[in-house]
Amino acid sequence: MKPIDIACIIDDDPIFVFGIKRIMQLADFCNSFLIFNNGKEALDNLKMLIYAGEELPDVILLDLNMPIMDGWQFLDEFTGIPIDKQITIYVASSSIDPEDTKKAQSYESVSNYIVKPITVENLKAILEDLKAV
């Protein structure tokens, strides 16, 4: 299975970031990473990339509960920016609150809601999903 090019991880939890990077490497998920600690940092940097015409990530793994700018606020801002490239956004959260699941589904740009913890197995499933699209 051919890995995707760039995976973007937006999460404030360094343990999760460490873990998911390793899992992605194990699953041969992507070639490179973009890591941001909160929504604001992600938004600013992604905007710069768009402005500079640099390559954008294929997949964004977005946490919901973050300081400064949370996942929802990021989604609201980011989905307002016109981009040519198809970016698949996954919400990855510890929250099992059905309200959160429902809200995530209301965003057209959000492909799926993944309840943490993420294992090598379910990451592989995501990858297959992506290829299928």
Partner: protein, 630 residues
Amino acid sequence: MNYLQKELYELLKKDDRIFDFLQESALDGMWYWDLENPENEWMNPTFWETMGYDPNEMPHKASAWQDIINKDDLNSTIDSFEKHCAEPNHAYDQLVRYKHKNGSTVWIRCRGMAIRDEDGKPIRMLGAHTDMTSYKDKEQLLLKYQDLLEKTNQVARIGTWEVDLINNKVSWSEVTREIHEVEGDFELSVENGIDFYKEGKSRETITRVFNDSYTKGENYDVELQIITAKGNEKWVRAIGIPEMENGQCTRVYGLFQDIDEKTKANQQIALQEELFRKTFEFAAIGMALVGLKGEWLQVNKSLCDLVGYTEEELLQLTFQDITHPDDLDKDLSLLRELINGERESYQMEKRYHHKNGGIVWVLLSVSMVKDDSGSPLHFISQITDITDGKRAQREIETLLDVTQEQNKRLLNFAHIVSHNLRSHSGNMAMILDLFKKQVPSATENEFFPLVNEASDNLKETVSHLNEVVAINTNTDKKLFEENLWEYIEKAIVTVKALAIETGAIIENKVQKQLKVKAIPAYLESITLNLITNALKYRSPERKPVIVVTSSLLNPFVKLTVKDNGLGIDLKKHSAKLFGMYKTFHGNKDARGVGLFITKNQVEAMGGKIEVESEIDKGTSFNIYLQNETN
């Protein structure tokens, strides 16, 4: 015959003037009637003058007086006349009423004698009138007064009595007898008269005053009680007046009046007044009579204590003076409605200023007293101290605030459980997974399985906590109509592996069409949990048999899951059976949280759960869920 009489007779024959003098002055009327020609009758002038008529205008005809004679009297006159004609010894003499020209009645004593021929046949009738009117009038008046007196006595229940001390005779009037309720043949004496008085004060009093009256000549007027011949107790007024002659009493007479009703009514009023006074004075609640302008007319001790003023101080004030300004308008407008007759009474909660400056909360009830013509006289107020109640209410409100605050914190805590705790346990599971894959040799280490198990346990605990939190924070979830039989089937499929392994028989005897109102996820969790439990706590000595049945107990559907397993010692455990994290069997899978969640889910759907169990026989769980039609 006396010579003068003889002389007068002679004179009468010779001299007409003698006759004229007699008929004019000695009589009030004279008539002479021709019975052979009955229409002719001579009446002398006095005849007509007595009746108020002018003699010159009146004809000498019998028909002339027919119109003014009383008809009844005319009949009796004719009757008497016929008898007299037939039998000269029958005297023609009767009272006859004529109508005077002015309309009044003239009473005439009419006497007459028939003049007969040789054969004794009456040919003339001579009559003489005597005016009896003034005498008759007096007689009538006397009768009238006697009648009036008798009637008055009857109505007023006043009787008379008399003790004749010379002849030692006692007499009672009719009313006096009636008051004593004695029969007509009752033998009267001073002694048995006195014996009617009630023993004690009444009899002592009458004995003393009666003795004083005939020994000292003193009148008396007393109100005492008697016991009548029929045994009734009555209040009477007895008045006695002695009559003295040369210092000796000859007779005592007096009045006797039945005043029972009056006295009783008075006593009743006095009693009620006393009752009201005592109630008013000693009432535990504040009571007051309030004038139409709000002035305190009368206040009781409780009210004084309530507002901290003395009675004297309070009577100088109006209720407006001590009412909290925010409550005054409402009170005054209700008072106006009362005065205008728009309401009978009113109640309100209000505040008074205590003399010490504090606030007193009271429940005020006001009604109005009116006079006979319906005009307002004053108000009656009842005032209950509810300050403590108000304080308690405030405390409850504070408590409610605290509870709401804590509930908020609990939700916050629920969020921490649901998110933060989960993310940490998730991280740990993820790192361990990664560790296993990247450093396979690490799994050889004896600590690794322990850390792994601890992580799994943590994950499970967190997930249980999440379920509990979810149930308790989402109580307003919608209920759907669900087929119970299908859910049981689904649960049986889920536990199939374990059932095969243990050789269990699971029978679904639930009525196939039965629907209950449920939250699908909860119903699934409940049925699965009950069947799993039944398998989990099987007896090692028997093949597990689990029977699931249903019955309709409006408004509920009762679902029973019965097993033949280990059973639960309900005496020991019933209180905490459905508590969080309780284990009863020493079973290594037991977490206890399962039943806690089940109970919470059942209750969240408006149902209830019961358990019956016997050690080493088995356990039945009864779940009551709302019937679909309900």
